[in-house]
């Protein structure tokens, strides 16, 4: 058992938060929300660029497992997680998380499944371009389908053949 030191350091932030002035929670949240709203256009452009890069990268992967390309694709789709929700496209975030899970599982098992990746990218394109018009139940069905696909690889013993 190693030597352990437990102490309580002073937290200046706690004192600052209590200083007079500042903002009410409601106003701060509203101001932050308005700031995020101003990023919507940029976020949509960024997501289109992410989709193009992801499709391009996936197209370069052959039938066999290629760790370098898989890492590249993972970086392309995992980095923008959080951006779609700023544009009100939470379902795209869910699709990106599902695809990141899938790529992480595939990497762990040193496998490649072009169809599983392709179905995620098609869903990404569909949700990005049509969510405003799509019904909520349809979106949920798409996301549930993606989750099923990625979870097939969640445990090595139950991985899809």
């Amino acid at each position: 058992m190693s030597a352990v030191r437990i102490h309580i350091p002073p937290v200046r932030l706690a004192k600052l938060l209590r200083t007079p002035g500042g903002l009410p929670v409601a106003e701060a949240v509203q101001r932050a929300g308005a700031g995020l709203e101003s990023l919507k256009g940029e976020c949509l452009t960024e997501l289109q660029s992410v989709l193009d890069s992801a499709e391009g990268c996936a197209a370069r992967v052959g039938a066999a497992y290629d760790p370098a390309l898989l890492d590249e694709l993972y970086a392309i789709v995992a980095t923008p997680i959080g951006i779609p929700s700023v544009c009100g496209l939470a379902s795209v975030d869910t699709a990106l998380i599902s695809l990141s899970d899938l790529l992480d599982y595939l990497k762990g098992q040193q496998r490649w499944d072009a169809n599983a990746v392709a179905v995620h990218l098609r869903a990404f394109r569909l949700l990005l371009h049509t969510e405003g018009a799509a019904d909520a139940a349809g979106t949920q069905a798409i996301l549930a389908g993606l989750r099923k696909v990625s979870q097939r690889y969640a445990r090595p013993e139950t991985a899809a053949e």
């Binding site: 352990v4 209590r18 929670v25 409601a26 932050a32 700031g35 980095t79 599982y105």
Partner: protein
């Protein structure tokens, strides 16, 4: 937790010095919009670990919000470096770690890096504020040992993890043994509960 977004309770972050570590331009813009909305005026924006380390060495920080920085997990390494740097008071600063996706092989790294809280993206203003208020609470214990330096990760006393005997001197066994002394007399218990007049 559960901060009400309609709350009129006030907080002041105007004089807080905040370090942001985020390599994605949009990710950084999102954080900046959220924090400026909260009234933060001093933001140190760092796009990589080297910039963040340089900032830690020259500026006094009140809060650190760092991204895990993808599969490489460089953000976790930065937090570990910050804790072990012994640059006071920054090494004790409240740290919020954000992550879009945590690969399975980085889960233990994320848990052990020494962050106060790990927030999964997408971030919303109310959850970020909630976490900032939570991690800034005074009286939070800090643990320093050979393998870990950071806030005490035990928020609730639910006993030692199942199947273990505990690593701390004051950890109690999960199974309560037989009583070693006779039960207290009921009169004594009643006496403890009874309201009494006291002289101040």
């Amino acid at each position: 937790m559960g901060l009400n977004p309609e709350s009129r309770a006030r907080f002041n972050l105007e004089r807080a010095s905040v370090l942001l570590l985020e390599d994605s331009t949009m990710g950084m813009s999102i954080l900046v919009q959220i924090l400026t909305g909260f009234g933060v005026k001093t933001l140190h924006r760092c796009e990589n670990v080297e910039e963040a380390q340089a900032t830690v060495q020259k500026v006094e920080l009140d809060l650190v919000i760092a991204d895990a920085l993808g599969a490489s997990g460089e953000g976790y390494d930065f937090i570990k470096w910050l804790r072990q740097s012994r640059i006071e008071p920054n090494c004790f600063a409240p740290v919020l770690l954000t992550a879009g996706h945590t690969p399975r092989d980085a889960v233990s790294k994320a848990r052990d890096c020494g962050a106060h809280f790990i927030m999964a993206k997408p971030l919303t203003p109310i959850t970020v504020l909630e976490r900032i208020l939570w991690i800034s609470k005074e009286g939070r214990r800090f643990v320093e040992c050979d393998t870990y330096m950071g806030p005490d990760r035990r928020f609730k006393n639910e006993g030692v993890p199942p199947g273990t005997v505990g690593r701390r001197r004051d950890d109690l066994p999960a199974v309560v043994g037989e009583a070693e002394t006779p039960n207290m007399d009921q009169d004594v218990i009643d006496g403890l509960m009874k309201t009494r007049r006291v002289e101040l």
